[in-house]
Amino acid sequence: MAERLITGPDLDDIAVGAAILGTGGGGDPHIGRLLAHAAVRADGPARLIPLEDVPDDAVAVVVAMMGAPTVMLEKVPSTEQAKLAVQALASYLGESPTHLVCAEAGGVNALVPVVAAAQLGLPLIDADGMGRAFPELQMVMPTLYGLGATPMSIADEKGNRGIFDTVDNHWAERLARSATIDMGCSAMISLFPMTGAQAREALVPGTLSLCGELGRLVREARAAHQDPVAAVVDRLDGAELFSGKIVDVSRRTEGGFARGEATLEGLDGGSGERFLLRFQNEHLVAVRDGVVVATVPDLICVLDAEVGTAVTTETLRYGQRVRVIAAPCDPRWHTPEGLELVGPRYFGYDHDTVRVGSGALT
């Protein structure tokens, strides 16, 4: 695959696909789509280049938004912030980035780098650090490869900028999270400076294209009156876990995260089946009648029962009819080091990971 341009119409498909890979988190991609449209309108299309084409000596940096998705629905971020964050990091590094990278293929962060790429005229690498969305900044494949999240920069909409240079990636998350909360829970960050050689090893390839493809599949299935959810399950090699109606949602905000549970009931209520989703920004654990049937790091996605688009954790509400699917993550997340970083126990759930296709789903 060669370099290609991301133009206005591509953004709509990418947003739909990014919401699915966002596994309920990562923020409303609608906002990301509007921001990307605004940037592409003002500065022209963004260039997307395949991961394998990135030269060894490239200077690649991740650009992302950090904060609470519920906040972003109100205090919508500004496009200037993304540019400021990259420029702040560049001046600390003393060299200019040659490529931009997505931290996560899910939610708004699939589109924030498109904004920055259009504004700065830098190519965007068709890859990301997760192959999905996760709530904390150290939860990326580059951490598994020993790459440092810092030096990193952070910028708010008021013009405040900060640089962190930390002893490890957990400290980067901790300090950046505190700053993000003080900045009003919607900050832009630029981090994980890496060479092209490191990027090729440590990123999950092709994920922005995958977002676009998922969006296209949903759009086409709907146009052809076919089942968009089945098309998504098929493309992700996943499984459908449950189909039903949300009967309760409880949430609380802890340390800048939206945590909570959603309870689902089967349609018509006859079967008496109960399904529970636990989330912390993203959907992390799925429980059917008391049995854990899927967990992080595999993808648990909640899709609108009919139109097949993703339902984010902040828009879950009573009475919605949804279908829950699970899909395998990048296998590197299932190594002992990967699970230590993003397994269920890290998120405070006292059980092992349950993988898609491990038998519990049938």
């Binding site: 921001l35 629905l73 205090k75 919508v76 008021k158």
Partner: protein, 518 residues
């Protein structure tokens, strides 16, 4: 006795009801000024069944007038949007995602000013009086008479919106102000969109509501006037003047609830065929299924909760064209049906003419369509049946056949059976289901405030809030036992002392029958 009136784009229908029984039902043409159509409907009602105007306890009006005004971009007031949020939110200014056509129709002007709150209640920036005064000058200069004010996190704290409103009305006493905190929930862009739409309809709302009140006075009716809202509950006229946007989904809600009342079928697809469009929705246990995705109105994203309705451009006034394959609509002669359709001596071939030619109904003079080409008539009706069947297929959630209830004046266009759904139910008074839905509209009770939620107390607090909403509905005239909670919304306000949570609960119930209300 109650009178229910539905003012659609084509027809104005009215019913006189006593408890559960329909005493009289009439269908008349909608007029451009709305009120003369209502006067005619009231007079017809009286002719059909003489009643003492003083014995009428309530008049309920459902109207699609306001949503139609938006869709048609007609009679909208020049409107400004003032958003308080700088230095945040500047990349996506008000109306950023609106179709240009509508921005132009409201001569939309957007102003970004400092203000807004952070998620934890801190100010993003202080409100600057000088900026608001400058906006006031601009509004004056551009002769803008209605303004929508939004502020970041105003559902949590509306102080800036209110202060900005005070400053603006201090300078421009006649300006109509719509505040986003009073109209929508969390989600700045969607809430702001709904507020701007509301602002653009304020002048029309005043005209229409004044006209309605005068019509009733003219007919000697002194009973209170209500308008039906999106959720099937009623609002009084003062509220309607300020919040016309709250009527937006009342059309489909009324028609579906009317269909359930008339047919006794509680779970079904309802096809409401009007003059211009067919609206297809699903009733589950007597209540309209709500749309779960974001609701776009005329291409504008809002966060209203609306019934899930599929609209097709097929109605009794749809133009039929026969060259090279038959087409039905999407353009319609609308309220000019009684002048332009062939059966009324006009010169336009409409769907109604085709139905009359096929013997499905007797309207106007059937003799005028005797000579119509049989194959054209058959092809047009086949097309209508197939398009509606496809839409029902799309809107149902399972392969199980769903009974079909047909209502609305245009439902004569439908065949006796559609797809695998079995015979089409056509309840008595099917043509005035909307007006009946308005007449049986419900009374709501709402709780919306910030509650301290101690750990482990969430369920108890929610239960208290629900009970309070139910009690309010009953106090407003709802029949005890019929009240149920239809909406629960929780917004945790992090970092405020006492684990503060904004809880919004809405309960609705049937209006207590007249006997019980004196």
């Amino acid at each position: 006795m109650r009178i229910g009136i539905d003012v659609g784009g084509t027809n104005t229908d009215a019913v006189l009801m006593d408890g559960q029984s329909v005493l009289a039902a009439v269908k008349t043409a909608t007029t451009r000024d709305v009120t003369s159509g209502i006067n005619t409907a009231l007079a017809e009602l009286k002719r059909q069944r003489a009643f003492d105007p003083l014995a009428v306890n309530a008049v309920m009006i459902g109207t699609t007038h306001f949503i139609n005004a938006l869709v048609e971009a007609d009679r909208l007031a020049p409107t400004a949007a003032v958003r308080l949020g700088l230095p945040a939110t500047a990349s996506l200014p008000p109306m950023v995602d609106w179709p240009d056509r509508l921005v132009n129709a409201i001569a939309g002007r957007a102003y970004l000013c400092h203000g807004g709150h952070e998620f934890d209640g801190r100010h993003i920036a202080e409100l600057r009086e000088d900026e608001i005064l400058r906006v006031a000058e601009e509004l004056h200069r551009h002769e803008i008479r209605s303004v929508a004010i939004s502020s970041v996190f105003s559902p949590v704290n509306a102080e800036f919106e209110q202060r900005a409103a005070d400053i603006l009305t201090g300078q421009l006493p006649a300006i109509a102000v719509s505040l986003s905190s009073e109209i929508g929930r969390m989600g700045l862009l969607e809430r702001e969109n709904a507020t701007i739409i509301n602002a653009s309809l304020r002048e029309l709302a005043t005209q229409i509501v004044d006209g309605l009140s005068q019509s009733l006075e003219g007919a000697g009716i002194s009973a209170p006037l209500y308008l039906s809202q999106n959720d099937g509950t009623l609002m009084d006229v003062d509220f309607a003047r300020r919040y016309p946007v709250a009527t937006f989904a009342s059309g489909p809600t009324n028609s579906m609830r009317g269909a359930a009342f008339l047919s006794g079928v509680e779970s079904c697809a309802v096809v409401d065929v009007g003059g211009t469009t067919s609206d297809i929705g699903v009733l589950q246990h007597g209540f309209p299924r709500e749309a779960t995705t974001e609701v776009s109105v005329a291409g504008i994203r809002t966060n209203f909760r609306m019934p899930d309705v599929l609209s097709l451009g097929i109605g009794g006034g749809s133009r039929i064209r026969g060259d090279g394959g038959v087409t039905v609509g999407p353009d319609s002669v609308g309220y000019r049906l009684a002048d332009e359709a062939l059966v009324f001596g006009g010169a336009t071939l409409t769907a109604t003419d085709v139905a009359v030619a096929a013997g499905r109904a007797v309207i106007g003079d059937p003799g005028l369509v005797k000579e119509l080409d049989r194959s054209l008539v058959q092809a047009a009706l086949l097309r209508i049946g197939r398009d509606i069947g496809d839409a029902i297929e799309r809107i149902r959630t399972s392969p199980e056949p769903l009974p079909v209830v047909a209502v609305g004046g245009g439902s004569i266009l439908l065949p006796d059976e559609i797809g695998d759904s079995g015979p089409v139910h056509r309840p008595e008074h099917f043509a005035v289901a909307n007006a009946i839905g308005a007449a049986i509209a419900q009374i709501g009770g709402e709780v919306d405030r910030i509650f301290p939620v101690e750990p482990g107390q969430r369920q108890a607090v929610l239960d208290d809030a629900k009970q309070e909403a139910v009690d309010k509905a009953i106090a407003s005239g709802a029949k005890p036992g019929s009240v149920r909670v239809v909406e629960v919304d929780e917004v945790p306000l992090a970092y405020l002392p006492g684990n503060a949570t904004r809880i919004r609960v809405k309960a609705v119930g049937d209006l207590q029958l007249e006997a019980g209300r004196g």
